[in-house]
């Protein structure tokens, strides 16, 4: 039973108010893209054991989408941030590295 912070309306609330929607910061590939790129965009997932950036929706709250950085092994939450960015903000990266010095962001996460 997670507690999640919504950066839009500012509340920290029960997981039941929210809904998770998988890996964040996927780049959309549309018509004209290669088979590989399109397949990766739709299906291939990092599914990491450890630090994970993911999309959440404040479904029974303000209705806004946002991002959460979370550990899939401990369920520790490093922070929430706006949905309107294609990479995690530096502050989140810093927080994670503070707590997990060995962690390095993937190429598309920096």
């Amino acid at each position: 039973m997670l507690t999640i912070h919504c950066p839009n309306c500012g509340v920290t609330a029960e997981e039941t108010e929210f809904h998770a929607h998988g890996e964040a910061h996927l780049k959309r590939f549309g018509p004209g893209s290669s088979e590989d790129d399109f397949e990766s965009y739709l299906f291939m997932r990092k599914n990491p054991k450890g630090v994970h950036f993911e999309r959440w929706h404040h479904r029974y709250g303000c209705g806004k989408w946002f991002h959460v950085a979370r550990c899939t092994m401990t369920l520790e939450v490093f922070g929430s941030y706006t949905g309107q960015t294609s990479v995690p903000p530096q502050q989140i990266i810093d927080t994670i590295q503070d707590r997990r010095p060995d962690w390095v962001p993937a190429q598309d996460q920096a």
Binding site: M1, H19, H21, G22, F43, R45, N47
Partner: protein, 414 residues
Amino acid sequence: MKKYSVFAVAREAMRQHSGWDRAWRDAQPKAKYDVIIIGAGGHGLATAYYLGKNFGITNVAILEKGWLGGGNTGRNTTIIRSNYLQDPSAAIYEKSRSLYETMSQDLNYNVMFSPRGVIMLAQTEHEVRGYKRTAHANALQGVKTEFIDAQRVKELCPIMDIDGPRYPVLGGLWQARGGTARHDAVAWGYARACSDMGMDVIQRCEVTGIRQENGKVTGVTTNRGDIGCDKLGMVVAGHSGHLADMAGFRLPIESVALQALVSEPIKPCMDVVVMANTVHGYLSQSDKGEMVIGGGTDGYNNYTQRGSFHHIEETVRALIETFPMLSRLKMLRQWGGIVDVTGDRSPILSKTPVDGIFINCGWGTGGFKAIPGSGWAMAELMAKGRSPLTDAFGLERFTEGRFIDESVAAGVAH
């Protein structure tokens, strides 16, 4: 290997059971094997077993980072059925179900396959149509099922309230030869049989790297040293993405927690397995008498084998509607397992971008029932390079858009 039988038990009883051997040898890794299977769960062990039994390949090691059968094989609700809609699913699950019928005799290990019958409840008109469609498809696929009316459902499962105020039971898809089995015994039986064929079942052996040369697999690195192989099978539900990452490819997979619970045991009151998809719950009674309840998955990636309690609440609440007697039973234990969910929620049995590496994963919430069929098909794929049972389950289907979608309920009527 000493044959198990009532006579053997009686003989041993006379000497305080001092004569029983280990069920499987405590093997040390050799330098090289023809085939290494990573993952000594049901699927991995079954793959090894059929490699030996059907193809004579016995120079095989099965590596397990923990204890064998300790993943989802030992954490599921043990339901066995094959009433799937799509051809490829029906083929592999029916193969599997039919292998369960004779598994105890094949392995000389009582896995307690109990073909007590499975009902999938129809509680909306939409489900009625869906299950009638499945019944038609199953008839052509060689899977014996029938659509039964609400009264018949009640006869088969008297503790059910078919007039439930919100979702009355309208009928159901009945597979009389579906049922349950003892999950641990499946893993133990296969491990014993593999060991007996000379294969090495190696527990507490964690793979930490995949060795390759020129795009071809040559072995694995483990906490117990390097082990070479010509072919490698990855059969590690829940951790497939992690292993694929080691081998340098990605998978269309997310790992999530699936939860289940059991009640305290009670005297027999339910002789069938019931699945209620409208309310997302399934229920059966174990031979010990516990009501075994399975529910849904969390929506987020999770490797903790713990889920969120509200899913348990939802499942229990929903089942009480259809099974009011549950209300006065008590939850004894709840637990979680990590399941791989693919892009179309059907499994992957496939070659991979690395020559010699094969992968079997993505069974989601339905893996236990598939163990023997999956092992059978995977062994054929690894031995011969292709299997009619796995053709449709290749990784390439995600590029081609050729999905195997069993959740054919995209929308509801106008």
